[in-house]
């Protein structure tokens, strides 16, 4: 790997990573884990990049890969258009946006920074993979295979703190909210409704 190319890739990543999510605009696509990869090559087949002369945006071909959140997420097209537009505005002439379906997006891909921004905006973040693995977490782990996962027939037990007052006396009103990725909750301490990003 030539140093100059790595620098070009980091610069292109930084441009794409700044694109806000259309439905959760307090998060960038990088915070959300939707921006999977960015690659930069010298335009045309001639490798001109060296450590001394990194690829200039106007001479670089950029490919950005996005992993859609839900199958039916209507914002995917807008995300792709936004990434394309931002990269072109940054001077890249040859821009390609591609979808990467595997591995599937998961709320585990939301960065710590992303979880902080969600909470700040009054949206309860999903638990991280580490939090879900903790012994206090609810059951329902689904074994891989042909058998359907075991059902948890009771209500959801794990604790969701109110992002507005920090209270823990909260309840889920509806598993489905204003977008595919959010559920509707309310806090019985401060009496306010709030949204929560569904764990998937």
């Amino acid at each position: 790997m030539v140093t100059g190319t790595a620098t070009a890739r980091e610069r292109a990543w930084a441009v794409a990573a700044e694109v806000p999510d259309p439905e959760l605009p307090m998060l960038t696509l990088a915070d959300l884990g939707v921006l999977a990869e960015v690659e930069v090559e010298a335009a045309g087949a001639v490798p001109t990049a060296t450590a001394e002369a990194p690829v200039a945006p106007a001479e670089a071909a950029v490919t950005a890969w996005l992993t859609p959140t839900y199958s039916g997420c209507p914002a995917v097209a807008e995300m792709a258009a936004d990434v394309d537009r931002r990269l072109r505005a940054a001077g890249y002439a040859d821009v390609r946006v591609r979808l990467r379906l595997d591995p599937a997006w998961s709320t585990d891909l939301i960065t710590a920074e992303g979880r902080r921004k969600l909470a700040e905006a009054g949206i309860a973040p999903p638990r991280s993979a580490a939090e879900r693995a903790a012994p206090a977490a609810s059951g329902g782990a689904s074994p891989r295979g042909t058998a359907p996962p075991l059902l948890t027939l009771g209500p959801t037990r794990h604790l969701v703190a109110c992002p507005l007052c920090g209270g823990t006396d909260t309840e889920e009103l509806s598993r489905f909210g204003s977008t595919a990725c959010k559920a509707l909750w309310r806090c019985r301490d401060c009496r306010e409704p709030f949204e929560r990003v569904k764990e998937i």
């Binding site: 890969w65 839900y70 199958s71 039916g72 997420c73 209507p74 995917v76 097209a77 807008e78 792709a80 258009a81 394309d84 537009r85 505005a89 390609r96 946006v97 591609r98 979808l99 990467r100 379906l101 595997d102 591995p103 599937a104 997006w105 998961s106 689904s142 891989r144 295979g145 042909t146 058998a147 359907p148 996962p149 059902l151 948890t152 027939l153 009103l173 509806s174 598993r175 489905f176 909210g177 204003s178 595919a180 509707l184 569904k198 998937i200």
Partner: protein, 293 residues
Amino acid sequence: MTDDHVYLSLSEATPEPEGEGRWAYGTGFADPLLGVDTAVPAGLDGADLAAYCLMLGDDALVLSQRLIEWCTRAPELEEEVALANLGLDLLGQARQLLTRAGQADGSGRTEDDLAYWREEHEFRNVRLVEAPNGDFAYSIARLLLFATARGALYEALAGHADPVLAAVAARGAKELAYHREYATAWTLRLGDGTPYSAQRMQAGLDAVWPLLEELFTAHPVELRVGVDPATLREPVLRSLAAVLAEAGLAMPEVPGLATIGGRAGRDGVHTEELGLLLAELQVLARAHPGATW
């Protein structure tokens, strides 16, 4: 935005680079498999893979249409939002599966070609998904059956040799788990509710049950390129039995809906309800061929 009418104001807004005007004209990124490798892996028959994707895609598309019919008609606003969300997940799966079908058979047909320009006998969905919504209990019973069986199928397909089908299934399995939880919660609430709600929920289950068997009946294409659905019967029935027992409901004991000489939805032999559903689904695209906005 200055104008009272949102679309008028959008068309007058600054289109570039970040102005609101861009929303008025679409994005130009319409392909649900944008940039995904479209080659059919060696050892897989493209025509079989396409037929299989069509079967699963049609199931998702038709049930999506039924779920979206609940908009403005559900008992509560929250249920309307929930049912529309489930429909949206299925629509997303259908778009990817139909697009994959058009790639794999080499015809180059798009998702729109396949959704809007096929006739009733060319649809390959099981009859369970085309049945009219009935009352809320019937819709919940149908959703419980479908989500349990389809979730199990997607789990099994997550390791499929076709990377596109495998990815759609891996994503879909997690979505179907949410659908099953939703249907389960309502089955428990109605079954374990008042005597009247239990009676209505039982009636919904009894009415939908004859359509379950078709989900476990293998079509030759499924045996060649997919998962034999007969292997799902036992785990799916066990899972359904657990929910019904918890809800205090009886597992219906009724024979499967008759076929026409062994032919059913997977062969393009449908109930009369599919034609009516397709008429509504397809009318706009057929009235204005090639129209964009």
